[in-house]
């Protein structure tokens, strides 16, 4: 199709939607589905049919609306009202003339003027909860594929990379590597065969940001990948997605089929010589495959074991060819950057951490769910304003970011801005976006043990420090919790932290000590109190 045809399709779909008296959006992301959202959607569809409202009303499933703790969530388009904890029995009220007047629905109404809604800035999640992820027409109506059209029809690959550079976008998978730099490394490599890989192996326990984007707005990710392919000279893309994400896989497969049918993927994209295919590669239960060289090994059909870098994937990656690997959220930021300009993006957040970040709030927090805020927002604002604080008026103890590679942030650092540098300074990392809030009922030593168990079970086994070291560290932490450990054990734990950090082959082993290190730094007393009396500083020397 041509650029004009794309605009025509957009206009046509917008017209069609405007002609409807109401569109009922039902969140059908995994969280809401597990509380019965499908039943709600089916009930509303049945009501529309039985009242013969087919021509004027429509119900559609959407991606995550964010407030997962109050699911199933439903929104009505005409008045923009949002309802939570909706049941199938509410279907009749939802299709009635004035749903807001229905007494039961009125009770379910959610106030959207609260900080949770007002303080967020949606770029990555702009379409989530607004478009039907199973209809490409919805995505096009929202302006989809216009960024790709602009890139292919009006820009050179170098200009595309320049725009990304101007935005200051950094990798959202956790490392924060400058995206434009990575793209340029691949673009400048010689050779006709290059690959673009989307790392959708989101493995941090407690993180579901990527999953929500893939389920709620798969086309956004595909469009970002295609633009990347254009910029670096690749014609083949792979999305490596966790095997456990069945809904995301289904939505991606459908999205790829639809995009190919509309000639927005495949060959002669926008009538240009540019061609870009996307295929899925399904993960099979190995957290280590989130590491890029292990991911490559997995796509090549081998055991997912990392290898030494250099050479880095941009130089020699998939099947030895230059390969660009970026995270889901990173790709999702690309189309808006091209449409609105790099400078627009750079004006959000606080350099050198520009743009926004998606966080998955979980644990002891009122508003569990998905949020997107400008970089530099303080942790206090995220936890207490947007997150609604600790339930039952409990006391905040710590926030864990970065999953098994990250650290715990105590109350004294609540005013820390959430950006790459500030978090690293206090001993944690941005990570992929999982943010777990803990209160007084959590034992920080147990949290450290939990993450070490995870690393031990996910260790690929190739290098000795990680394979044997995580097991020994887990053993020591378990014995500390059982009050069977000595001071010598604690010292050995700290020594192993240094060993793994400095000698492990890959990031999994190198960062496995982080939860231990940060809890030792800020909650050392909890460790000491678990040592036998004559060994702990708290008990004094005998």
């Amino acid at each position: 199709m041509t650029f004009e045809e794309l605009m025509e399709q957009q206009a046509r779909e917008l017209e069609r939607q405007r002609a409807l008296s109401r569109r009922i959006y039902c969140c059908t992301a995994a969280g809401c589905v597990s509380c019965g959202a499908e039943a709600v959607r089916k009930a509303v569809a049945a009501e529309i049919k039985s009242r013969e409202l087919d021509g004027t009303m429509e119900v559609c499933g959407t991606g995550c609306m964010g407030l997962c703790s109050q699911g199933p969530l439903v929104r009505t388009s005409d008045d923009g009202a949002l309802y939570g904890n909706v049941e199938a029995a509410d279907a009749a009220a939802l299709v009635s003339a004035a749903p807001a007047d229905d007494p039961r629905l009125a009770q379910r109404r959610i106030d959207t003027s609260t900080p949770f809604f007002v303080k967020q800035k949606k770029i990555v999640l702009a379409n989530s909860g607004v478009v039907d992820p199973e209809r490409i027409a919805d995505y096009i109506a929202a302006g989809g594929y216009q960024a790709l059209a602009k890139a292919v029809a009006e820009m050179t690959p170098r200009e595309v990379i320049a725009e990304v550079r101007a935005s200051g976008l950094r990798g959202r998978g956790g490392a924060g590597y400058p995206t434009a730099l990575k793209w340029e490394l691949v673009a400048k490599q010689p050779g006709a065969t290059k690959y673009v890989v989307c790392n959708a192996d989101e493995g941090d326990p407690g993180a579901f940001m990527d999953r929500s984007v893939l389920e709620g707005d798969p086309h956004r990710v595909l469009e970002g990948m295609a633009i990347a392919g254009y910029a670096v000279g690749a014609q083949q893309g792979y999305v490596y997605v966790r095997g456990e994400y069945t809904l995301a896989i289904q939505r991606l497969q459908a999205a790829i089929r639809q995009a190919e049918r509309e000639r927005l993927l495949g060959s002669r994209i926008f009538e240009d010589t540019f061609q870009f295919r996307v295929d899925l590669r399904i993960g099979a239960g190995a957290f280590v495959c989130g590491e890029e060289t292990a991911l490559i090994a997995s796509i090549e059909g081998r055991r997912g074991q990392p290898r030494q870098r250099p050479p880095y994937p941009p130089e020699s990656g998939l099947w030895g060819k230059p390969t660009l690997i970026n995270n889901v959220e990173t790709f999702a930021n690309i189309p808006p950057i091209l449409v609105n300009g790099g400078e627009w993006f750079a004006g959000i957040g606080s350099a050198p951490s520009t743009g926004t970040k998606v966080f998955a709030l979980a644990g002891k927090i009122v508003n569990t769910g998905l949020i997107e805020v400008p970089m530099g927002t303080s942790l206090r604002e995220i936890v207490f304003d947007i997150g609604g604080g600790v339930p039952g008026g409990g006391e905040f103890k710590a926030a864990q970011t970065g999953g098994p590679s990250g650290g715990c942030i105590p109350a004294e650092f609540l005013d820390t801005p959430v950006d790459f540098e500030s978090l690293a300074r206090i001993g944690s990392i941005m990570g992929s976006g999982g943010l777990i809030v803990m209160d007084k009922t959590s034992s920080m030593v147990d949290v450290a043990r939990y993450f070490m168990e995870f690393c031990m079970e996910e260790s690929c086994g190739k290098c000795i420090p990680c394979r044997a070291g995580t097991a020994q560290m887990h053993d020591i932490l378990t014995r500390i919790l059982k009050r069977e450990a000595t001071r010598a054990d604690l010292e050995m734990l700290e020594r192993l932290c240094v060993l793994l950090g400095e000698t492990s082959l890959c990031g999994l082993g190198q960062t496995a000590p982080n939860p231990v290190l940060s809890t030792l730094k800020y909650f050392r007393r909890e460790y000491e109190e678990l040592l036998p009396a004559e060994h702990s500083a708290a008990g004094g020397e005998r």
């Binding site: 190995a286 055991r303 290898r307 030494q308 031990m456 079970e457 996910e458 260790s459 690929c460 086994g461 190739k462 290098c463 000795i464 420090p465 394979r467 044997a468 070291g469 097991a471 020994q472 053993d475 010598a488 050995m492 020594r495 192993l496 060993l499 400095e502 000698t503 492990s504 082959l505």
Partner: protein, 238 residues
């Protein structure tokens, strides 16, 4: 092919482009500890014993995988590196059941020699005592999981030099095991050619020849370099 000059442990040395720090050091009498590297096979950088300090680089680098560069200043045996190597060996010794007294490789074992060289005379970690088996189904060789350090030399030699790829790694993490074919007894393997290369490259007594006494069980690892050089360069170096 250009030649680089660099400094290893204060000594000025030369190395060809593409040569690893490990090989250049070896040529110049500097023996960097290693267990997963053996001349003639690809390198995996798994044991982490050969890590060296390179001035100007924050991270430690595996000598077996890092090519020499002009002007590099390398330190191979600082106190920090020695501490790391000792702890890595302790992790190994505590991981499985390494009982030298009843092992046929006693006195000729690379793990044992390295421990002696680095001064590891006690282990400050808890022994894990996993329950692991011994496979003596093969006519000529035996495989003892208790002595295995998962260096994967056997996997690589069978794949790269013999070509049969009889051995591979089963599972992951500490519970990984070296298996033959579909995990069955070695003696029932369809692919094994009984060449014995795996036994020769194994650094410990995990793979051994049957019927040999402690005094007789000696491995000839130099033989591997001999046949690989012969095959690739058509040069016979013994």
């Amino acid at each position: 092919m250009s030649v680089k000059t660099l400094v290893i442990d204060g000594k000025a040395v030369t190395g060809r482009a593409g040569e690893t720090i490990f090989n250049v050091a070896w040529e110049n009498g500097v023996r960097i500890p290693r267990l997963c590297h053996v001349g003639g096979l690809s390198d995996v950088g798994a044991c982490r014993l050969c890590l060296v300090e390179i001035e100007g680089q924050r991270k430690l680098a595996a000598a077996c995988l890092t090519p020499v560069e002009e002007g590099m200043v390398v330190h191979t045996s600082s106190e920090r590196l020695k501490e790391h190597r000792r702890l890595i060996l302790e992790l190994l010794l505590a991981e499985r059941n390494h009982v030298c007294a009843v092992c046929v490789m006693n006195g000729a074992c690379e793990l044992q020699d390295l421990a002696a060289e680095l001064g590891v005379d006690h282990v400050r970690l808890r022994y894990r005592f996993p329950k692991l088996g011994v496979d003596t189904s093969h006519e000529r060789f035996g495989q003892d999981q208790n002595r295995c350090i998962l260096c994967t030399r056997c996997v690589r030699v069978c794949d790269e030099v013999e070509g049969a790829h009889t051995k591979d790694v089963f599972g992951r993490g500490s519970g990984s095991l070296i298996i033959n074919d579909m995990g069955g007894p070695w003696g029932e393997s369809d692919t094994c050619t009984s060449c014995g290369k795996c036994v020769q490259v194994c650094p410990t007594g995990a793979l051994f020849s049957k019927g040999k006494s402690v005094a007789e069980m000696r491995k000839d690892r130099g033989f591997l370099k001999y046949i690989v050089t012969a095959r690739e360069k058509r040069e016979w170096i013994r």
